[in-house]
Amino acid sequence: MVTLEDYPATTTAWCPGCGNFGILTAVRKALVACNLAPHQVLLVSGIGQAGKLPHYTRVNTLNELHGRALPAATGAKIANHELTVVVVGGDGDGYGEGGNHFIHAMYRNMDMTYIVHDNQVYGLTKGQASPTSDPGFVTKTTLEGAWAQVNPMVLGVATDTSFVARGFAGDIDHLAGLIAAGIQHKGFALIDVLQPCVSFNPRNTYKWYRERVYKLDQDKAYDATDRSAAFVKAQEWGDRVPIGVIYKKDKPTFESSLPAIKKMPLVRQPLDPRQIEPLLDEFM
């Protein structure tokens, strides 16, 4: 049995009170809930405050470039699909710099869990607007206020992503449940996490989120497998902000289309130069 002690917490470089602490705890709880040992899990992260997360517990880690965690995770998963791959990053990291990978990874539907620490701001670089900043949010680089707001939930539904959810860093148990569900889900699971940044986002605070979030799973009428309903629900942002699973769909993973890894992971396959002999014949 894996316990929380297998994922010891360490000192961090985050600000006291930061929403990232809640996410870290939720990730550790979820891994324990899934009974996954540290060596079975690979945490891939981008750069930003969120990107530091894997450093703060004991687990296989690939800390990547800003915006590039998803492709690296993809390569690693193909090389060894026995690994449980969890990707973490910020909103700037994932929806800004890494936006292209984000869209295509969702379409591709590989079995991995993507947790976005969405503080609606660039934390590590000290408070510029991010793609998810609320319109009008004034920062040093958006003096007229932020302009357009990326809605990752809508993009998730639009790309027919197989698991699209939103969590809140202020509700650790609910979030841990979502992450565990995302890990157990076969396919790409997007979990956007509302994460208060106490240093640079004076607008979207714990209080702001608390006043707005409500849990979708308490709404028995809501059918997360209905894409049109999900499209409407995903747009909800303002007075009320849904958390929970917004969209879910069973569909084959990209890995399942790869004959090469049917029998065993690539990384376990033996290497033999002689295999190319018959190919040489073709050039004779």
Binding site: L70, P71, T74, G75, A79, H101, Q269, L271, P273, M284
Partner: protein, 573 residues
């Protein structure tokens, strides 16, 4: 013997197939072939040509003249008339192509369309008539051509095969009848014919990657590198190799890094523009100490440049690409044979030194065909360096990915293979792989990484050096110009000029001592490069202090011919 076929026509007319089949038929006959292609960045129309040089001795460069020109359109005659040697022949179909000047001796009208319809029932076989007639003209062995045609069209089914053979036969017979005696050049297959391979460097690199155990390749199409991914995607299926074409080159290289981190040999292939998008991650591979292999197939820049042409304009870019300082190896194969060896070596170096290795080629090498000895696969040794087995990993609960070592190389565990936890980090880090800020650890880690250059330096092979006694000059080149310079040396010798040839195909860490030693006492050094600024000359001076006396540079997108080099050398003398 030195004989040259040229096939000219529009894109879409099948110039490449005719050229390739001719080249293959010659190679099968135990002859040496060097075949290069010249084509535009378009799918139909324009002007393309294919040159097939045939010899009984090794050839590694193109010739500026043709003995037989197969002109699939009129433009081919207009553009290449001057290149046809006296006594040579221009093969064309008078029904489709109307040459405006009558060069009576040279013109050989073969009713290709008509013969195709008559014998094979379809004009689609016109090109095979052309091929057959060229083979007939030189009185080569039709049986060899037939065999090659059968293989070439096998994928299209029995009927297509038969039709092509018939059409070729008709062309062959026509040529024998009409010009059997009058045409002055004959090519005889060697008996028994030596068995050799005919292939391009892209094919050689693909084969080498598969032999070396590459299990994952990601790439985004870009001339001249695309055929590598296409070949590996096709043939690699049988060996469980995964080839992916994702959204862009940034995704490509980070996938490769992810796969390599997770423990498989992984590579990508691209051209300059795509390489640009990879350089941030190149630096990441340097920092995380991840073994990746990147093929940089050069073409003329800047920007989109001339997409289907050749150049050597990215040596210094490759050397300095990526932010910050980290070790890398740069290999630039000189020949198709080299391309195989160098690629195997690249995978070994990448894993032994846990750092990126760049293979630089160019359009010329990537797309031209050479006859070479069959690769000796038994010589391929896979050396994965300090890789921990699952058992070893299990024994190290406190495994540190970046343990300081004398060589700079730390034992590498793989995530999920054993109980070790493997932390790879893009920030500066400590031995555990966790972020640090202090100056001591920083300095130690930089030194650890850079120490790998010492090891790499011992791995770099000495440059090829053909020292000529009484040498009046040393010609210096790198990569794909090998064949042309080599032949230029021979041409000079005939002219009574003794020249040595120093050629680099393993460029970084720079073999400065070997180069300096080779150039010691050289009367005159001439660096020959397919670029505009003399990048090797610049690098050579930086590394050895030796300034080239002269540079012969060419940057029109076309490869060097040996004759061009000789002309340039004579200009001044």
């Amino acid at each position: 013997m030195d004989f040259n076929f040229m096939v000219g026509g529009e894109a879409g007319q099948g110039v490449q197939t005719v050229g390739y089949v001719l080249a293959k038929a010659m190679s099968r006959g135990g002859l040496y072939v060097y075949a290069d292609q010249d084509y535009e960045s378009r799918i139909r129309g324009g002007h393309n040509f294919y040159r097939v040089r045939v010899s009984d001795k090794e050839v590694g460069a193109l010739s500026e003249t043709a003995d037989v020109l197969i002109a699939l359109n009129k433009e081919s005659i207009d553009l290449h008339r001057e290149e046809v040697r006296r006594g040579g022949s221009i093969v064309f179909d008078g029904e489709a192509v109307k040459p405006d000047k009558a060069e009576a001796a040279a013109l050989f009208d073969v009713p290709m369309g008509k013969l195709a319809t008559e014998t094979a029932g379809s004009r689609l076989m016109t090109n095979s008539v052309a091929t057959g007639s060229a083979i007939g003209l030189v009185d080569y062995d039709f049986a060899i051509l037939e065999k090659v045609l059968r293989e070439q069209f096998a994928r299209s089914g029995e009927e297509v095969v038969e039709k092509n053979v018939k059409a070729a036969r008709a062309g062959f017979d026509h040529a024998r009848q009409e010009r059997g005696r009058s045409f002055g050049f004959h090519i005889k297959p060697q008996r028994p014919a030596a068995k050799r391979m005919l292939l391009s460097a892209n094919e050689a690199m693909s084969l080498a990657a598969m032999a070396a155990g590459c299990k994952f390749m990601a790439a985004y199409p870009m001339t001249p590198a695309t055929s590598i991914m296409e070949y590996v995607a096709d043939k690699g299926r049988d060996f469980n190799i995964v080839v992916m074409q994702p959204e862009d080159e940034i995704s490509v290289v980070n996938m490769v890094i992810g796969a390599a981190y997770a423990g498989v040999r992984a590579m990508t292939a691209t051209s300059g523009g795509g390489f640009c998008l990879m350089v941030e991650a190149l630096s990441l591979a340097g920092m995380t100490e991840t073994p990746i292999v990147v093929v940089l197939g050069q073409r003329p820049g800047p920007a989109i440049g001339l997409p289907t042409r050749t150049e050597q304009g990215e040596l210094e870019f490759a050397l300095h690409a990526g932010h910050g300082e980290f070790p890398r190896a740069i290999l630039a194969p000189a020949t198709v044979e080299d391309a195989f060896d160098v690629t195997v070596k690249a995978f070994n170096l990448a894993e032994k030194y846990q750092t990126p290795v760049i293979i630089i080629t160019d359009h010329l090498l990537a797309t031209s065909y050479q006859t070479i000895a069959r690769f000796d696969v038994s010589k391929v040794k896979i050396d994965r360096g300090l890789l921990l087995s699952e058992e070893e990993s299990n024994k190290q609960p406190d495994y540190k990915r970046y343990t300081y070592t004398e060589s700079g190389v730390s034992p590498r565990a793989l995530p999920g293979l054993g109980k070790s936890v493997v932390v790879a980090d893009s920030d500066e880090h400590n031995e555990e792989g966790h972020i640090i800020e202090d100056s001591e650890t920083r300095t130690k880690m930089m030194l650890k990484r850079l120490r790998k250059l010492d090891g790499l330096r011992t791995e770099i092979g000495a440059p090829r050096f053909h020292r000529s006694p009484k040498s009046e000059m040393t010609l210096i080149g790198w990569g794909s110009t090998y064949g042309a310079i080599n032949e230029a040396v021979a041409l000079l010798e005939k002219d009574g000029v003794a020249a040595s040839h120093l050629h680099l195909s393993e460029l970084w860490p720079f073999p400065a001592e070997a180069v300096a030693a080779a150039l010691k006492g050289s009367k005159k050094t001439v660096v020959i490069e397919n670029n505009a600024t003399g990048q090797l000359a610049h690098l050579m001076r930086a590394e050895t202090g030796i300034k080239a006396d002269k540079c012969i540079l060419k940057f029109d997108g076309r490869p060097f011919s040996p004759a061009h080099i000789v002309r340039e050398l004579k200009k001044e003398a």
